[in-house]
Amino acid sequence: MRDAQNGPDMGAGAPRSGRGSTRAVVLMALHVLLFVFSLSGFFSKSAAAQPFMSVEFVALYAGMLFILAVYAVGWQQILKRLPLTVAFANKAITIVWGIVWGVLFFGETFTWQMVVGACIVIAGVVLFSIADGEDQREADGKAADS
């Protein structure tokens, strides 16, 4: 299954087990990165409660920018090792982290309708990534023909 999805760009000569475990490591690294990225929301939301340009505000804002910088560098490294569409599909997990941080740290409401809505959005994001991957392969195929 996995090999058929990956296509020819995943290193056809690599040992089977090695290839699978490498991808697992990259996926795990991606999810550690997305977890860190989700904390940028925590910093933004905390900064919002502080007076504009107060010491607390600036510190929290700087913390958020630092996380975004780390994320930008890490994301580029992930994209070298994983198709863009796979990375984007996994990014939908940040919706779950947003709900968790909101409930845990800011006492936000949690309803089943939110869960249903989040599931529909995540399904949409994953389908978008699949469709984008197909469009991309089609465009590449046409480019190769001409």
Binding site: T111, G124, V125
Partner: protein, 112 residues
């Protein structure tokens, strides 16, 4: 409602800044310094910083849990700009995906 609109406008502006960066990446420049220090790239980053401040302002009222849901609207803008600016095509599957995202946002936002 006003704060939600500010958040959503921020997501739109962030998408515009991404398009500007992509446009800049397609041009060829004389030196590496010029690749970064040209009006298009500087404007794009200025817009990006503006959106981070808009997000914080919006978070005065918008729940943190709603932020990443609103961020998903960027898929709509990315697709629209892809079609309008970069002449990419949109298939039926992608249209369905965008419809799901919009439906999910509405279901979620009315359930908060």
């Amino acid at each position: 409602m006003l704060y939600a609109a500010i958040y959503l406008t921020g997501v739109f502006i962030a998408a515009v800044s991404q398009v500007m960066l992509k446009k800049a990446a397609q041009k060829s420049y004389g030196s590496i310094v010029q690749e970064y220090l040209n009006p298009l790239v500087i404007c794009a980053y200025a817009l990006f910083f503006l959106t981070t401040l808009m997000t914080i302002y919006a978070y005065k009222e918008v729940p943190l849990s709603l932020g990443p849901i609103f961020e998903a609207t960027s898929y709509i803008y990315v697709t629209a700009f892809g079609v309008l600016v970069f002449k990419e095509k949109m298939g039926k599957k992608k249209a369905l995906a965008l419809a799901l995202i919009v439906l999910g946002i509405v279901v979620y936002a009315t359930g908060v």
